[in-house]
C-alpha cells in the first residue's frame, strides 16, 4: 500500500462527496443547501488540485484540468452566494440559490470525471 496513493484518492473522493452533498436537494430551496458544506467542498477541492501539481503524464494533465474546472465552478458559486447575500437587494432568493446550486452541480460533474479516472487508473494497474 502506498500512502501517497491513499492521500490522493482520499482527497479526490472527498471532494466529490462533499460537492454531491451540497448539490443534493431541491435546486431552488435555500434550506436544502448548507454554506459550510460548500466551504469545505472548496477547501478540499483546492487541496486536491495542489496534489495533482507537477505530474508529467497525460493522465496527470487531465486530472489537473478537471480539478481546475471544479475549483472554478465552486468559487463562482461561492462568489454568487456572497453577491446575493450582501450586494444584491433581494438577498438569497430562489433565483440566486438556483444559480449557486447549478454552478456547483457543474463542479460535481468534473469531480465525477476525476473519480472515474482514478478508478480506471487503478484498474489498469492490476497490482
Amino acid at each position: 500500500m502506498n500512502l501517497e496513493k491513499v492521500v490522493f484518492g482520499f482527497f479526490i473522493v472527498f471532494a466529490a462527496t462533499l460537492n454531491f452533498g451540497f448539490v443534493i436537494g431541491e435546486i431552488d430551496n435555500p434550506m436544502h443547501h448548507n454554506a459550510t458544506e460548500l466551504f469545505f467542498a472548496i477547501v478540499v477541492n483546492l487541496i486536491a488540485t495542489v496534489l495533482k501539481f507537477g505530474d508529467r503524464t497525460q493522465v496527470g494533465a487531465v486530472h489537473l484540468a478537471t480539478s481546475l474546472v471544479a475549483d472554478l465552478q465552486l468559487l463562482a458559486a461561492a462568489g454568487a452566494w456572497a453577491y446575493a447575500a450582501y450586494v444584491s437587494p433581494t438577498g438569497v432568493d430562489t433565483g440566486a440559490i438556483t444559480t449557486i446550486v447549478s454552478l456547483s452541480a457543474g463542479a460535481l460533474l468534473a469531480n465525477i470525471i476525476s473519480v472515474v479516472m482514478l478508478i480506471v487508473e487503478t484498474m489498469m494497474l492490476r497490482r
Partner: protein, 570 residues
Amino acid sequence: MHPNSAILLILRRMRAPLIVLITLYAVSVLGLTLLPGVDADGRPWHMSFFHAFYVISYTATTIGFGEIPYPFSDAQRMWVTFSIYLSVIGWAYAIGALLALVQNRAFQNAIAMQRFGRAVRRVREPFYLVCGYGETGQLLCRAFDHLNRRFVVLDIDPARIEELELQDLRIDAPAITADARHPDNLLMAGLTSRHCIGVIALTSDDEANLVVAAATRLLHNGEASILCRVTRPEIADNMKSFGIGHIINPFETFGEYLALAIRSPGSYQLMEWLTSTPGATLKPQREPPRGHWILCGYGRFGQAIADDLQVEGIDLTVIEPDHSIACTSQNVHGVGNERHVLEQAGIERAVGIIAGTNNDIANLAIVATAAERKPDLFTVLRQNLQSNQSLFSTFQADFTVRPAQIIAHECLGLLMTPLLARFLAEVKRRDDAWSDAVVARIAQTCGERVPMTWNVALDGRGAPALEPALRGGAEIELNALLRDPTNRQERLNAVPLLVLRAGQQHVLPDDSFALRTDDDILFASTRTARARLQGTLVNVNDRDYVLHGRAQRAGWLWRKLARDPQSVAP
C-alpha cells in the same frame, strides 16, 4: 530535458507549502464563523463565510482594516490572534520554500536550459555549433566573432561558460553548460536546425568528439561540415569509418609541418605565408637543419613528431622519464632538463632539440639547459597553456608549437577558405623550386606583407554581376577579370592560385584561362584588390567597365536620353 520542466518543478515543489497554506486559511475562516459574536444591537451573531474570509484575508497579509462589520467579541479576538500567528507561519513556510527553489541548482539549470533553447531557436542566420570552449574553442570563437559569424557553444565546465559571458564579443552567443556526449543536448543546441552549417568538436576528450561527430552525421539532415579535434589515432580511425573528412590532430599537423620545413624549406615558407594573419610581415626564419635531433617527451605529441621525422630519415634520440613507454631504438630514460641526461642523448653532436612534454615549465627548462650547453641549437618548444604566453614569447625559440592555435587555424581555414587546404596539399607534393617561384610571384604582385587568401564561387551568390553572362556562354578570360575597376589599364594585385571546376583542380591557372559558371577560384591578393575584384563580381557598372570599357549611365532618365539606351563610350 523537457521544455516545460521549470514550471513542472515549481508546481511539484510548491505542493506541500500550498496545501499547508490552504489548510491554515480554511481553519482560520471556519473558526471565525463558529465563534459567537454580538451585533450592534447586542444580539448573538455569527460571522458569515464571506465576512470571515474577508477578515482573514486582510489579517493574514498584515493589512489589518480592524474589526468589521461589528466590534469582535473576546472569543473572536482570541481566535483572530491565533489565526494571525498561524498565517504568519504558513506564509513564511511558503515563501521560504519558493526562495529555496529559486536557489536550487536543478531549478536554475532548468531555467538556463530553457533560455538557451529559446536563444538558439532565435538565431536565424547560419551558425556553427562549437562543442568545447577550451583554449582552442576560445580562439576559434573570437575569430568567428571577428568575421561576423554566429555560433553556439556547449561546454561541460561551468567556469568556461561564465568566461564566455564575460568576454567582450560583439554578438551574444548562446552558451550552455552541458555534456556534449548526450545527443539531447546537441539537439537542444540546434544540431537539426536548418541554420546549423557546421559542427566543431574541440573537447579535450577524444571520445566525446567522436560522439559529437557520429551524432551529427546521423542526426543532421543537411550538409553540415564536421570538424573534429583528435589526438589518438585509433579514435581517428573510428571517425573515418563514420565518413568524417575533417579530422584535426594538432600533433600530427605540427609533425608534418616540421618534417616539411626540414625537407623543403621553400614549401614550408609558402605555406607559412599563405596561412599567417593577412597584413603581417614575415620575419625570416631559421631553417631547421638536418642531422641529429633530440626529442624530450614521448607522449602523443612526441610519437607523432618522431614518426614524421623518421620518415624524413632524421637521426633521433628520445628522452622519456617513464620506463613503461616503449620508445624507438635510441632512447634515454630521464628528464630532459638534467645535464647528464642531455649528454647521454648526444647533445654534443645534436643540431636540434624538441621540448615536447605536456608541462610548459619543464619544456622551458629543457630548452634553457640545452641552449646553455650548445647555444646554436635549433629549438622547438611546445606550449600547452595560453596563460604562459608571456614566458614563451620572451624565450624566443625557433619554433613554438601551440596546439590550440594549430587547431583553430585549421578549422578557420577549412571553413572559410576550403580551397586553400587543396592548394596547400598541392604545395606539399611539389618541390622547393616550384614553391620559390610561387612565393616570388606573390611577393611581386602583393608586396612583402602576408596576402589575403580567399575564395569565391562564380555562381548567382558569389558573382551576381558576372553569372548571367557566363551562363549565356560568354568567354571571359581570367586576364580580363583581373583589371582594376578604377582604371582598367592597370592590373589588380591579385594572384589566382587555384580554380576548382567540377571536382577537377587547375593549379596556378594562366591569364588566358577561360572562366565558366560555377568555377571556384582561390586568390591571394591585397585587401584593396579583394574589395575591387568583388566590386567587379557584384556591381553591373563595374563589370561593364572592366570587361568592355564602357561606363553605363546609372539612372533610367540618362539612359533614355543617351542615344545608345544601354551604354555610351567613356
